[in-house]
């Protein structure tokens, strides 16, 4: 039981890392990794939303869509669920922590269009996960996303002051770094 969940977690975090192995959620990965602090803020927001959204979409599928035989509506329903979760989170954060809201700022609504969030929700259905498994899979995916985002942001902060040849400066060296990171994460294949 415990082993199952830990395998699920490690699988989602390292082996099938959503960003570097499955190439989902690349836009925030490239866009929000310029500064370590914003990357951390984005990681926290994404972790929260992803976990909650995967649980909610699982409930929606099993208690609304499946009984009515509406499996084909899952994509649009999940988008609706994710948008609501994000909006709700934004309201709560705005009320409870104005500072966090300022740090997250534009990134919170951006999570709505983070394809990793929708990807996890759909993969949960494809892999026929139950509620707890969905929760853990979503959390694992979010931790994996946070891990690579923070690592990448730390690297980019160093790259910003490094002596990079002029043709590679800016986004180009970022892409190359991301590619190398992806290669490194491919090394986890076969771990579980």
């Amino acid at each position: 039981m415990l082993a199952d969940y830990s395998i699920l977690l490690i699988g989602a975090i390292l082996v099938n890392n959503f960003v570097l192995v499955q190439f989902l959620g690349l836009c925030p990965f490239m866009g929000v990794s310029n500064k370590l602090e914003t990357a951390m803020g984005m990681s926290m927001a994404t972790t929260f939303v992803l976990t909650l959204a995967s649980a909610c979409s699982n409930l929606t599928y099993h208690f609304l869509l499946q009984p009515l035989g509406l499996g084909y509506l899952k994509t649009i329903s999940f988008i609706l669920v994710i948008a609501v979760v994000v909006q709700f989170t934004e309201m709560v954060v705005r009320k409870s922590s104005p500072l966090l809201h300022r740090v997250l700022g534009v990134y919170l609504p951006l999570i709505t269009t983070n394809c990793a969030v929708l990807g996890v929700a759909l993969l949960n259905i494809n892999k026929e996960h139950n509620f707890m498994q969905s929760l853990f899979y979503g959390f694992g995916a979010a931790v994996g996303f946070s891990l690579v985002l923070v690592l990448f942001a730390a690297m980019r902060e160093r790259l910003a002051v490094a002596d990079v040849p002029s043709p590679f400066q800016g986004a180009a060296i970022g892409m190359i770094t991301a590619g190398l990171m992806s290669l490194a994460f491919m090394g986890f294949a076969g771990l579980v």
């Binding site: 602090e37 929606t60 609304l64 869509l65 009515l68 035989g69 509406l70 509506l73 649009i76 329903s77 609706l80 669920v81 609501v84 909006q87 709700f88 309201m91 709560v92 705005r94 009320k95 104005p98 500072l99 809201h101 300022r102 740090v103």
Partner: protein, 204 residues
């Protein structure tokens, strides 16, 4: 109802999506009321850091308008009374780089209070009108005086006084206002660090 849904799957889809939308809409509507925020909370936090001198040296009519401007993205280094420490506190709050104080808006000075030489005061009330924090007491044709504990040292009252009887005097040094006398880096004759010496030699 159930037969209708079973017969026409289209209705099932419609009901499901509309129902889902209604539930979520209600949830968000409730959240909008429950988690309503009064104004912009970040403005209050910025306003608390600003020194409340209401001096207007930043180009805004007071500290609160400047706080609102900062929340909208204005530079944080336009408050001389707050000094570099104020800029640092704002930078920490807003998670941005601390930048040096903008000299255009005035230089950082030690805390001062206004003092009215009372036997020279003619009771024109001009300084009372100028004072942004109502720290000057007095009436027309009567002598005025400054409530030292209320004075923020903004020196806005010095200019309008027709007989120049207002002085800005530095606050007496206390445990709160005392600071180290830092050595002036320009007048330093001996370069203590070897790398400094070699750099100046190269420059020379």
């Amino acid at each position: 109802m159930y037969e209708l849904i079973a017969q026409y799957p289209l209705f099932a889809a419609l009901f499901a999506l509309v129902g889902l939308g209604l539930i979520f809409g209600a949830l968000l509507g409730y959240a909008a009321v429950r988690f309503k925020t009064e104004g912009n909370p970040i403005v209050d936090q910025i306003n608390e850091i600003l020194p409340q001198t209401q001096c207007g040296q930043c180009g805004h009519p007071g500290c609160r308008p400047y706080a609102e401007a900062i929340a909208d993205g204005e530079a944080i280094n336009r408050c001389p009374p707050g000094g570099q420490a104020g800029v640092q506190a704002l930078a920490d709050l807003l998670d941005v780089e601390a930048i040096p104080l903008d000299e255009e808006h005035g230089e950082e000075s030690v805390t001062q209070v206004a003092y009215i030489r009372e036997d020279e005061c003619i009771g024109c009330t001009k300084c009372i009108q100028a004072c942004p924090v109502d720290a000057i007491l007095g009436a027309a044709k009567h002598m005025h005086t400054v409530i030292a504990s209320e004075c923020t040292g903004c020196d806005l009252c010095v200019e309008p006084c027709p007989v120049d009887c207002i002085d800005m005097i530095s606050e007496e040094e206390s445990l709160q206002t005392w600071s180290w006398q830092l050595p002036d880096p320009v007048s330093r004759e001996v370069d203590i660090i070897a790398t400094d010496a070699s750099a100046t030699e190269e420059a020379a």
